[in-house]
Symmetry: C2
């Protein structure tokens, strides 16, 4: 078994080797640009890992791993347009550096390139893998749409939120693992358990991200602490707080959310204070742990040597304990 | 063999039967909306036609025909954003009726739905058909990008223009025919000739569209006559005129193109007058005829009964003699 860092190295090299036509330049340059911005390449690493766990050669899974990475970056390129985001991983976003039309069309062709890469598998798994890829892509689009609707929707429920992050974030982890497993020769049943592991892990990971936005160590978190609070992002914490707050607290929270002019630090402090009073962090951590437990329960079901399951368990622990 | 009108009827019914999830509504409603705007459904009709010509059952080609129609409408939805178009087939465009983000994301999921539909073929043709679909989709994206670049590019050459319309318009006709032929059981060689027929026919069709924009009968053309002239669209006629114009004519043309305020009818008349002086209509008709001839030459190569080739020939004639 390769170490995670080895797999990430293999992927980094393969991403560097991806080449696109020179003409028309404005269609293909943004693809190389966004792929070169880096990232942890966790999705393609999971795909390779799953392939290897079931005895497959990682080289047979490299193109599908690239497919998942290209697909993921397509979603980032289009999400950045939709979110009006100026910066992605410290660099100018594609729609800002070129223009909006370039970002739409380059994104479109990335999705097609994703399919082209995903097809580079043996015939025996072509159809099931393409089906998983379709389902994954549809899930991500649905998740993004629901997330956008939440911005203007009042009374969002925790279960709706969990469903949204499952679609937007978690199904790609599940899909990557399942595709890798099938390439590696896993039986359908084990591939499904591994997919469940990935989906539940993905939900737990997103809940952790919600917690870290407020309670994370600024030096380790890598994003602006309180960013979700500043933008009124409907996270698990905010949705739970809105559900629990009553009387004066509810009024304070509404005022903080409705303010169009505010001191950023003061808003973060005031909302965090309400979160603390309502103990929403504890709710979020309990929810996160329950999804982690579901992930580990699925993992237990897989017919793999104990050492391999431990490898996945350690991977999940590493992902979920970035800090707290 | 079904008549073209029968095939169009079969397609209309199948489009009506396409159903999408109810949630999230803003993701899926725009898909049903744009598909219901109608159109001649020429691309899916060609796919069914090709299947039947080679002895296949049109029912086996229905889902891939829907795939081509859904894909085509995905390109329209995204093109309309890029072109800031307010109206499509007499109705409000998706990005105007909902908003830009909805049009981006609904378009994305349409592309995925296109793949899902296209996969509903027998295993023996799954991989070749998906390859053709990928190539077609990439061609259309490249064509759209090149077309957008032409807007601000001076000195566009006729051969660059032909390449652009080949990619943006013609490869879908070729792709639809080739996919239908393979489903129908055509040998690779015949499927390729049929694809060549479609591509050359598509180029001829687009050149005819350029001519009709200026010289068409307003009652039959279905679009505003002179629309390309008003918007300085780089059509075959304009590119040829820019190539041929010298001295005073060239100066006049430059002034007409540079004007930011103008009387619409006067501009159309003045540009048309220059076109007439330079005889660009004749050049365009000669070019159109040469692509029609290439299409018919490819048709001749196909190993099919003469009556079937005549059917395709008649179809092409019908397409190319809408009026003149």
């Amino acid at each position: 078994m390769h170490e995670l860092s080895d797999l990430q190295g293999i992927i980094a090299k393969e991403v560097d080797n991806l080449s696109f036509p020179e003409y028309p330049g404005q269609l293909y340059e943004p693809i190389s640009y966004i792929l070169a911005l880096g990232g942890k390449r966790m999705r393609p690493a999971l795909l390779l890992m799953a392939c290897e766990l079931f005895g497959g050669d990682v080289n047979k899974a490299l193109k599908p791993a690239m497919a998942i990475e290209v697909f993921h970056n397509f979603t980032l390129m289009h999400d950045d347009i939709m979110d009006n985001a100026p910066i992605r991983r410290g660099k100018t976003t594609v729609h800002e550096k070129w223009n909006r039309n370039v970002a739409i069309l380059s994104g479109d062709v990335m999705l097609v390139k994703g399919y082209e890469l995903m097809m580079q598998v043996e015939d025996r798994v072509l159809r099931p893998i393409m089906n998983i890829f379709n389902e994954t892509a549809i899930g991500v689009c649905e998740g993004q749409q629901i997330d956008m609707e939440f911005e203007t929707q009042s009374g969002v429920k925790i279960e709706e939120y969990i469903n949204m992050i499952r679609l937007k974030t978690a199904v790609v982890l599940g899909g990557a693992l399942k595709i890798g497993a099938l390439i590696g020769g896993a039986p359908e049943k084990d591939a499904n358990f591994l997919s469940d592991f990935g989906i539940n892990l993905g939900v737990a990971f997103q809940l952790q991200d919600d917690i870290l936005d407020v309670y994370g160590d600024p030096e380790k978190f890598g994003k602006q602490v309180g960013g979700d609070i500043i933008s009124n992002k409907k996270t698990y914490l905010l949705i739970k707080a809105l559900e629990l707050a009553e009387g004066e607290q509810a009024g304070q929270l509404d005022i903080l959310l409705a303010a169009t002019q505010f001191d950023v630090a003061a808003k973060v402090a005031a909302v965090t204070d309400i979160y603390n009073q309502l103990d929403v962090r504890q709710y979020a951590e309990t929810a996160m742990q329950s999804y982690a437990d579901k992930a580990f329960a699925a993992l237990e079901q897989i017919n793999l040597p104990a050492a391999y399951k431990q490898y996945l368990h350690d991977f999940a622990d590493g992902l979920l304990v970035r800090e707290s």
